[in-house]
């Protein structure tokens, strides 16, 4: 065990920098960009923690991970125990260590981050380190599974919300089956987030772990098309969790949008990530390789798309966003990575029309410049077009990454399931219960497009309430 050093000394230790692939190299491959901390670095980084009594970092975490607790276990060099400590409240540390916006959550609250030069403890790096250490050294232990309760649970969708619910409920002794529409489990973690940000082997390991705990996976099964929610009840399920995500892409609604070479981000990323079109023709699914690629939008999905375009050989990869960089919803780290890789940012720019060639392929995009006006409903300044500022950009591939609406399949086939005007399922936030008895929901299908950790957090809340319901109200 490392001797605890004086707080003042700890504050002098610099935040560790995660080694990463050189930008010039990495734009030619799909391998993960950051390599992860070494054990030495992790120990140094862990030693920076001031162990604040009031634990502001924990309050900043949507699932209240015992951060000082797991950092202390790192200092004791019991990395597997540290990973298990995280798993007490977060089932997916290897995923969250990579894709959580820590800078807006735990790390934002860290006392070390206060002040101009302050840099918070790299909680995300440490989370990833212990999760990877546990997995790579085969130290993943099955938690104790409670004796069978005889209650059956169906989880619809295998994204972060569904995986979390399944993991929590199977541990409590329930019989859990996950229904997934696609042929591989993981939801957005598999089809949406690229390999270079979240290796698919990491997601697969999480799913394998759940399977080892007894969770059953039924892939290629679309609830609402195969069995409906009501039919699942008839088939003996006692409670159901809906975590189907935000699966209906928004388009701009401007002329020329159906030209060849205009993808929704969902399609572009699904082709590349789930179907592995970046390995065509070793894999059969093709993808269009653009030379001049414009990605519309400013979120993480836009960054994932534009960085994918670079890796697929784009000479010019543009982010085209109607507001300014400050308003971009993407993580700072992702924007930073994109810039390092040579992505060109066209801020305050909005497409008004796509122009095609004789074969129906997009060849250009007419845009208009924008300026920021009064704040709108989101609190961000509303972008207003500047008259007469139209100009044309030459593009041969456009990816529309302006968000998703909710996929209406479950809502349409489930009588009595209340939805709001956007089609999102309405829940009681304390339990995630829907308007239907024994039906719970969480993740993007409730909130609209949000983050992995918020979905996982919703899954935690739902699992707790579902367990209570199953034990108290379902007689066996």
């Amino acid at each position: 065990m490392i001797e605890k050093i004086d707080k003042k000394e700890r504050m002098k230790i610099p935040r560790q920098v995660m080694p990463q692939q050189d930008p010039k190299e990495r734009i030619h491959n799909f391998k993960e960009v950051p390599f992860g901390l070494s054990e030495e670095q992790a120990l140094v980084e862990a030693a920076r923690c001031l162990e604040c009594k009031n634990q502001p970092c924990v309050a900043g975490c949507p699932v209240e991970v015992d951060i000082p607790g797991f950092i202390d276990l790192i200092l004791q060099k019991d990395y597997a125990a540290a990973a298990r400590k995280i798993k007490e409240t977060n089932s997916l540390p290897a995923v969250c260590g990579r894709v959580c916006p820590q800078e807006e959550q735990c790390e934002m609250k860290c006392v070390l981050g206060k002040g101009k030069k302050g840099k918070p403890v790299a909680i995300g790096y440490l989370e990833r380190f212990v999760a990877d250490y546990e997995r790579d050294n085969n130290l993943v232990e099955l938690p104790k599974i409670a004796p069978s309760t005889g209650r059956k649970v169906a989880v619809v969708g295998s994204g972060p919300a569904g995986l979390t619910v399944a993991g929590d409920l199977v541990k409590l002794g329930h019989d859990v089956t996950i229904f997934e529409a696609l042929h591989k489990p993981g939801g957005v973690l598999v089809y949406g987030i690229p390999e270079f940000r979240l290796p698919k082997a990491v997601v697969q390991a999480e799913c394998d772990f759940l399977a080892r705990m007894g969770v059953k996976f039924e892939n290629s099964t679309i609830v609402g098309k195969m069995d409906t929610i009501d039919e699942l009840f008839e088939n003996g399920y006692d409670a159901i969790f809906i975590g189907t995500g935000a699966g209906l892409p928004n388009f701009m609604g401007i002329p020329g949008e159906n030209l060849i070479g205009i993808y929704s981000a969902n399609e572009y990323l699904t082709r590349s990530n789930l179907m592995r079109a970046f390995e065509f023709p070793d894999y059969d699914t093709p993808i269009i390789h653009g030379k001049n690629v414009a990605v519309l939008g400013g979120g993480n999905t836009a960054m994932d798309s534009v960085r994918t375009a670079l890796r697929l050989g784009a000479d010019n990869a543009y982010i085209v966003y109607r507001r300014s960089e400050v308003e971009m919803p993407a993580r700072i780290e992702e924007i930073h990575h994109a810039k390092e890789e040579g992505v060109q940012f066209h801020m305050l720019t909005n497409p008004v029309k796509f122009i095609g060639d004789d074969d129906g392929k997009v060849k250009a995009m007419e845009c208009i410049k924008m300026q920021l006006g009064e704040p709108d409903a989101s609190g961000r300044r509303r972008p207003v077009p500047i008259k007469g500022s139209n100009f044309t950009m030459e593009v041969d591939l456009v990816v529309v990454a302006i968000g998703n609406s909710s996929n209406p399949l479950i809502q349409k086939t489930t009588p009595g399931l209340e939805v709001n005007k956007w089609g999102n399922i309405v829940v009681d936030e304390k339990t995630m219960q829907t308007s239907r008895k024994a039906v719970y929901a969480g993740g993007d299908i409730v909130t609209g497009g949000a983050t992995v950790i918020l979905a996982a957090g919703a899954g935690k809340i739902a699992a707790r309430a579902m367990h209570k319901y199953l034990m108290e109200e379902v007689k066996k």
Partner: protein, 290 residues
């Protein structure tokens, strides 16, 4: 994984595959489709439903070898497996008693109109069925259609069998002769669906067509299957596949179907050159003569 019970060649380029998948078959209705993936490296391809054996839980798919994936499908032996088969997808065909309904099937489209014909018949329609193919040896399902149609017309483009000419010629003659048809459903190659739709528009007979654009997930998630119908963008996977033929922008669909022409060639050529390529010599010859 879904089991392939049977996979046989039924013409120079057409194959019939039977897949055991009871839960899907129990739910499937005429006009819907499935998405299959042949193996782990395979793409997801939509396939029309050509038959549903509800009793035994068996799905029939009839497919034409047009590229790598369909060529690969021919190599799956009876008793083998598909990686995935998901569905039923899309909205079932609208079934109603219109008095007389007419089904028009061209080429591979002869297959998916069969379950729809059965459903139309069950709804009490008088059934006029017109099927056509390029040549006699490409025709299939004649007996099946004859068994349920009140009137069956068979045509070949080259005159080797039945009426010499296109399905649309036969349909035009019927309409010119004043045959009252309440509803037409046309499925086949895009040019055929376009010609039929243009024709029936003049006669003011409502006409459905079933569209088969490129797809990935088939659940509305990717939007790759967008089609323009009456000036509105629709997703064929969740809003279709059946649409009002008088409103479909066939030009756009035609172009979008060719989006991956180059990649398709690369994939097919590579497949043919694979050592031990199990593709039948007859198919190889037909696909790449010489």
């Amino acid at each position: 994984m879904p089991k392939v019970l049977d996979n046989v060649q039924i013409g120079p380029l057409n194959w019939k595959m039977k897949v055991e998948i009871p839960r899907l078959v129990a739910k499937a209705k005429a006009g819907q489709f499935v998405i299959i993936r042949v193996n782990e490296h395979g793409e997801r391809v939509p396939m029309s439903i050509a038959g549903l054996d509800k009793k035994n839980g068996v799905l029939t798919i009839i497919y034409q070898v047009v590229g790598k994936t369909s060529a690969l499908m021919t190599t799956v032996p009876a008793g083998g497996q598909l990686s995935d088969c998901v569905g039923p997808l899309g909205v079932p065909s609208h079934i109603e008693n219109w008095g007389t309904a007419c089904l028009v099937g061209g080429g591979i489209g002869i297959a998916p109109i069969y379950p729809i014909a059965q459903a139309y018949k069950e709804a009490g329609n008088k059934l006029i069925t017109i099927i056509g193919a390029r040549s006699k040896d490409i025709l299939f399902y004649e007996d099946e259609h004859r068994a349920i149609a009140d009137e069956l017309y068979v045509c070949t483009d080259d005159g080797t069998y039945g009426h010499h000419g296109f399905v649309s010629d036969v349909l035009k003659k019927l309409l010119d002769n004043g045959v009252k048809i309440g509803m037409i459903m046309a499925i086949g190659p895009l040019p055929m669906m376009r010609v039929v739709s243009n024709l029936t528009k003049k006669y003011n007979v409502p006409t459905w067509v079933s569209l088969n654009p490129l797809m990935v997930d088939g659940t509305g998630m990717c939007g790759g299957c967008r089609v323009s119908v009456g000036g509105e963008t629709k997703f064929a996977c969740v809003d279709g596949p059946d649409f009002d033929g008088h409103k479909v922008d066939f030009d756009l669909l035609n172009k979008r179907l060719l989006a991956y022409k180059e990649q398709e060639k690369i994939a097919m050529n590579r497949f043919l050159k694979e050592p031990g390529c199990k593709l039948a010599e007859s198919v190889k010859k037909f696909t790449y003569p010489g």
